[in-house]
Amino acid sequence: MAAEMRFAKSHEWVRPEPSGLATVGVSAYAVEALTDLVFMQLPAVGRRVKAGESFGEIESVKAVSDLYSPVSGEIVEVNAALPNALETLGKDPYNAGWIIRIRPDDPKELDTLLDQSAYDALLKSQPH
């Protein structure tokens, strides 16, 4: 995992790219908690989202979960192959399992998110 990766409390990760875009996915913890994934709905390219706003949904055998954008901005790319290869989320959640790319309105917004150690601490505090 890249050191600069940040996490939302709702278990999405975001990674700033050299291009200025931010790549977003869901953490390995979240994927494992959801168990068998069966369907994913991606947003339209060009849609604007605010931090904390739902940008998509993912369904497992038992549960439907919203996916929340960690940052505000415009969605400029989606991983269109992912809904037909949901196993990728479990195998490689931080690389091939990326979900959307956002052009952030304010790159400094990433600094308000959890870093790796803070996210690890959050996971330790989760009820089991």
Binding site: S10, A33, L34, T35, D36, V38, F39, Q41, G52, E57, E59, S60, V61, K62, A63, V64, S65, D66, Y68, Q126, P127, H128
Partner: protein, 270 residues
Amino acid sequence: MHLIHVWWDGAGDGPTNMAADELLAAESLRLDALLVRIYGWEPTTISLGAFQKLDDATAVAEIRGVPLVRRPSGGGAIVHGSDLTYAAAVPKTHPWGASPQVLYDALHAAMAEALREQGIQAVLWRPPGSPAPAAASTAGDDSFFCFDRRASGDLVVHEQAAAAGGRGHKIMGSAQRRLEGAVLQHGSLLVRRNGTLAGRACHPGVSDLCASRPTADLEPQPLLERWLQLVAQTLEADVLSQPGEFRGLHSRNLDDHAARFRDAGWIGRR
């Protein structure tokens, strides 16, 4: 000590019930507790899972003309009318809120015990070769009806099991919507066949499968009360039965929320 707040609502239509359940999830955050709403349906209604295709519903001849509502939760379609339906909501910070399987198993195991006390041998279904619930890979499928699917933790009885291909008859299933701060779980215990529908849409309920038992004629209220007692024992909680209906308490917001579930865009979203 935890509290479980319980509302006993009467029968309502699909959009009103779904709206009430979304409000229940929000209320669980305010009360920071497990909330349960038990309710009925009038008229008989088909509820679709959040992502089921509407075309798949219209292709089932047996349910043509029956009102449809789309749940916010996942899973397969359910014919409501001869079942006992509940909605449960917990904050994600609740001991049962972090993982989908924990809440699912807790509520189903309590119902299995309540049924066993009445001589009905209901068990939690596990995929073959998966003894540990946490590690169980589910064997869910894309059958249209919930009661034709199997997922780890579903409640099944093995009476007349040969007719169900040896997998047992599913009598209770649940599905969740995991919201930003709370989890909403819908569940249905099939009491008896729905007499108004036939063919694929007509699944046997507990009373049909256990008709030879003296206790087969289930009394819903005592069964549900015992279920809640057992849930409370597991959680080490007290049950707080609320005097009025949840829908009545939230009637001011209910119509606005229900409009979303009546909207053709929501019903036909997929």
